[in-house]
């Protein structure tokens, strides 16, 4: 299994500079994979899980990830749970966070207009960018198009890998929502909120609506095809 990462740089810069920026992002994502993958025996996550590393031995990045997972567990009423499947698995936060960092590195290198799409979760800088949301039943269609500038768009759905998101309260596969998209300033949070909303099922609709107060808009489709959007979703059409 793997995740595809698409990087688009729309800066008017020499090709060599753009290539160097892309290479830097790829290096960083490889580094994240080495350090945080639960599939790698030698990763920091697995060494911490095996108690080969104590809290005092952890890198700053790892501490940040653990802190953020704890914060999200509280913010989502326990529905975002890095321990949902037993052993520590912070992947649900690491993916979005690593792309946030990658986008910040591009910005630091001078890029003002780019996006990174990691497995359907997008961090856009500059803009406006037109971001389509995949139709929850048909892979080649869109259900909405968003107009985003300096924003993240994350989508969680039960359609791609089956019911892989579990309701941590019941241990059973999440049911009720087919697709949840969250738009906001930070991709790691948007991604976690989308996953938590999906795990909550239809009760997640009200919870998602409440996120608007924090600057996170949302769109959701129920298992029976009802479509919902928060009032300030930046829909383009």
């Amino acid at each position: 299994m793997g995740t595809a990462v698409s990087i688009e740089l729309a800066d008017d810069r020499p090709a060599g500079e753009l290539r160097a920026m892309v290479a830097d992002v790829c290096d960083w994502l490889h580094e994240v994979d080495e350090r945080f993958s639960t599939y790698r025996e030698s990763s920091e996550v697995n060494r911490f899980q095996r108690r080969e590393l104590g809290l005092a031995d952890l890198s700053g990045d790892m501490r940040h990830v653990l802190d953020a997972c704890g914060d999200l567990w509280r913010a989502t009423d326990g529905y975002f749970d890095a321990y949902a499947c037993g052993p520590l698995d912070p992947s649900g936060y690491v993916k979005g966070w690593s792309v946030e960092v990658a986008s910040a590195r591009l910005a630091a290198a001078g890029s003002t207009r780019h996006y990174i799409n990691a497995g359907g979760d997008i961090r856009a800088r500059g803009g406006p960018w037109q971001v389509g949301i995949r139709h929850p039943w048909q892979a080649d269609r869109l259900s909405w198009v968003l107009d985003v500038t300096d924003a993240a768009v994350a989508t969680s759905g039960s359609y791609e890998r089956g019911a892989h998101v579990r309701n941590p309260r019941t241990g059973r596969p999440a049911a009720g929502l087919r697709s949840v998209t969250v738009v906001g300033p930070d991709l790691a949070l948007a991604d976690a909120y989308a996953t938590a909303g999906l795990a909550m099922g239809e009760a997640g609709l009200a919870w998602l609506a409440g996120l608007a107060a924090e600057g996170y808009e949302s769109a959701a489709v129920t298992d029976d095809g009802r479509a919902f959007t928060s009032s300030r979703l930046p829909a383009a059409v």
Binding site: G2, T3, A4, V5, G119, R134, T222
Partner: protein, 174 residues
């Protein structure tokens, strides 16, 4: 404006390394080279017949069912800007827990002008709420006519990536 697009199929938290990086710097105004055939039907369904909203998405499997515009044939070589060829298309049946929904659309002048869906009528499909699906259908109809830069969706695997609209966008090189 220069654009640089890289599509790297790999992993952040999985087992596989990034397998390849494609980098291209191209003039956006140039028509994209014909992309390699990509099955955009999704779910590995055999009978793909969907035009797609992407200018790059010239699926190799388009089956014109009701070609009302004689110009449509010529667009094989010179597609309109939207990449949508005139005609009526029937989508691959999309399975969901309640049955199979099949969407057909009508394209005129490169724009989607009508969409319709057939709903399962057997078994427990009565719990589907057609008016509710119609809401999604309306949003979908509006969305198809837009030109997008990127696509958000739950595409976890590299297999899913290959079938995704984002992959088609990447192949167009911006």
């Amino acid at each position: 404006m220069r654009r640089s697009t890289a599509a790297a199929v790999g992993t952040l938290t999985g087992a596989a390394l990034i397998a390849g990086v494609r980098l291209s710097v191209s003039v956006p105004e140039q028509p994209p080279a014909a992309p390699p055939a990509v099955d955009l039907a999704g779910s590995g369904a055999a009978a793909s017949a969907e035009p797609t909203p992407s200018k790059s998405a010239k699926s190799a499997k388009e089956n014109k069912e009701n070609n009302e515009n004689p110009d449509a044939e010529r667009t094989e070589e010179a597609p309109p800007d939207s990449g949508l060829q005139d005609g009526t298309y029937r989508g691959a049946g999309a399975k969901n827990p309640y049955g199979t929904i099949q969407v057909s659309i009508k394209v005129t002048g490169g724009k989607i002008v009508a969409a319709d869906a057939t709903y399962p009528t057997a078994n427990n499909s009565a719990i589907i709420n057609p008016p509710a699906i119609a809401q999604l259908k309306q949003a979908t109809l509006r969305a198809q006519s837009a030109d997008v830069d990127a696509v958000s969706g739950a595409t976890f695997t590299s297999d899913a990536y290959v079938r995704s609209l984002q992959a088609a966008l990447d192949q167009a090189g911006g």
